[in-house]
Symmetry: C2
Subunit: 394 residues, 2 copies
Amino acid sequence: MPVANNVAIIGMGTTKFGENFEMGYNDMLVDACYQAFEDARIEPKQIQAGWVGTYLPFSWGFEGNAGTAIAEPLNLYPIPVTRVANYCCTGMEAVRNAAIAVASGEYDLVLAVGVEKMREVPSRGSLVAQHVERGHPLYCKGRTAPGMFALIATRYFEEYGIDRSILAKVAIKNHYNGSLNPKAHFRKAITEEQALNAPPVAEPLRLYDCCPTTDGAAAVILTRADLARKFTDEYVIIRGIGLSVTGGYFTAQFDQTFSFTGFRSTQEAAQQAYKQAGIKNPFKEIDVVDLHDCFTITEIVNYEDLGFAKKGEGWKLIDEGVTTLTGELPVNTGGGLKSCGHPVGASGIRMVNQVSEQILGRAGKMQVKGAKTGLAHTLGGPGAVSCVIIVGQP
Amino acid sequence: MPVANNVAIIGMGTTKFGENFEMGYNDMLVDACYQAFEDARIEPKQIQAGWVGTYLPFSWGFEGNAGTAIAEPLNLYPIPVTRVANYCCTGMEAVRNAAIAVASGEYDLVLAVGVEKMREVPSRGSLVAQHVERGHPLYCKGRTAPGMFALIATRYFEEYGIDRSILAKVAIKNHYNGSLNPKAHFRKAITEEQALNAPPVAEPLRLYDCCPTTDGAAAVILTRADLARKFTDEYVIIRGIGLSVTGGYFTAQFDQTFSFTGFRSTQEAAQQAYKQAGIKNPFKEIDVVDLHDCFTITEIVNYEDLGFAKKGEGWKLIDEGVTTLTGELPVNTGGGLKSCGHPVGASGIRMVNQVSEQILGRAGKMQVKGAKTGLAHTLGGPGAVSCVIIVGQP
């Protein structure tokens, strides 16, 4: 059977995100998974298969490039465990493949976990700068993530007549939300003055326009929807999952449709997920959103790519307060990547958990009243890979 | 529905394995995939989702760590494409996850491809030596693959009273089979004298006991069994897939059941696959096998772990000629890892293709008469991960 409406999330776990120098890779994995086991009211030995999403585990030898990365610290032997990776969609890919496996009937109870340790890794320089194989030398080499997304901001400013004051509103919103989130990396509200006067990173993006580098892990337990209530009354249903792989920046020179004001991968992933969920009007039918705000400008173009606003009008959602915690469509209620940080493999699962907690009414000070349907979205690499997961009430 | 008996392989492609200095990563991918497209009588644009298995793609920047690794060279945009990795089971993991997705009904026509470029990679020293995080210093550090499997040979010799002359018979068989395989890395038969007098690598393993380092790619196209005939009359059915993750060598000091004469991961994966396929007597019910002969001793212990021989009696299968091309249970009919080499992400899919070609009667000089059921097996990392895929006639 298809994934949509047939797979439930019955357990969720998320570590504190931040500079977790006191926790190793395995400590974070175990923390997130045991939170999820407890939430699902299961024992680890009940798990029948697992998927681990981790993007750059290589600092620890070659560990992390196989299912042993979670099978060993959790003692899951001898069940199947698979490693997946897909740029910043790595965590959601673990959820997606796990959900497909549950839908197939091959397994009834599975684990998806994402983890990344980024603070104590010796830098290899800009990861993006390592993309050396092909393409135009200016498009493809020496480019950093802030540099890439600065182009989006510059072009968006030019096309639609906004300026940095709009970006600042995204930063202020997400920092405020993060101040309410006990698991966020940064838990501090910022002022407009702070946002506008911060040191430049890649103009027009300044410090508070960029998400930090962070350690973290997050996990979910999935089962068939018709089995969920055997475990717990507190669960959500996966209503749709879309994933799309496109060229993004790195093939922009070949692709006349690449606009520098949005990403086809997000548009395609959203359409796949909306179709599965039967959603015609996302703005009206979705109550709470976690989307990929790696930079403040990304949140704005994502509003458009996800269909919450028309092309060129996404900025109005933040300008008019629509996406604040008390607005009509609250976005990044836990502070987003901006406040939580972005441990690549963990982020997508943290986002799924955040919107799921909202639907279960467990989001504490971040709670959006009456949230019934939530959307989580990640955008990966050079804008090339996107995943959208929609969850709802049973 | 479950994978077993409900998923068909309708297209297969394998590059020439070897020192493919004239081919880049993408060239090999495209070669293997277009062979598979042609075999399945489809156009690439019909593919609905993809999985790519590649273990160590990092020599080319960070390409290969995302679905873009195949979406870009094949222009598969905007469909979902996932990267998977699981030690030497990486290729089979691509097949496994793709097969599960077909079984779920989420997609009807999918691609699984594996690729590795190993000959021109600057060595990072022994990969295994990079396992630095945990465990006993003698068990876990500075160990090379030949060194690890030499321990198996030494212990097996001690327990069951054989010597290097038995290992030589495996090498002679697999080199002979490779001499018949136009796609093998090494296409030369060897003599017993050559095998016995070869230079030592890690005693008792000598040069011809070890598989080479190789470039290659392999691909399959999967669809639902009930749809297969719409595409082609030449297809096989997946009768079972088992995957198991265990501790292997690296946790041997904690695991009193680790015998140094076999691998629990293979035993578990085989039992999962046999259960799905309804196989009670593997020796009688399976007609042709490709198994993980990274070293000659590994082939012998795999005979036992896969249930073709009793514990301590696997060596008799090679000693008595049972597993030669004209024997009762031909093993590694294309020359195995010994002659084909072992490009990690590609090997598992090459093996699935080899046994599938046997079932379709397309194996040329390597053909096993009347082969109806085939088994492919990979063993990964420190003996920690194994995958078994059983294919049969529709």
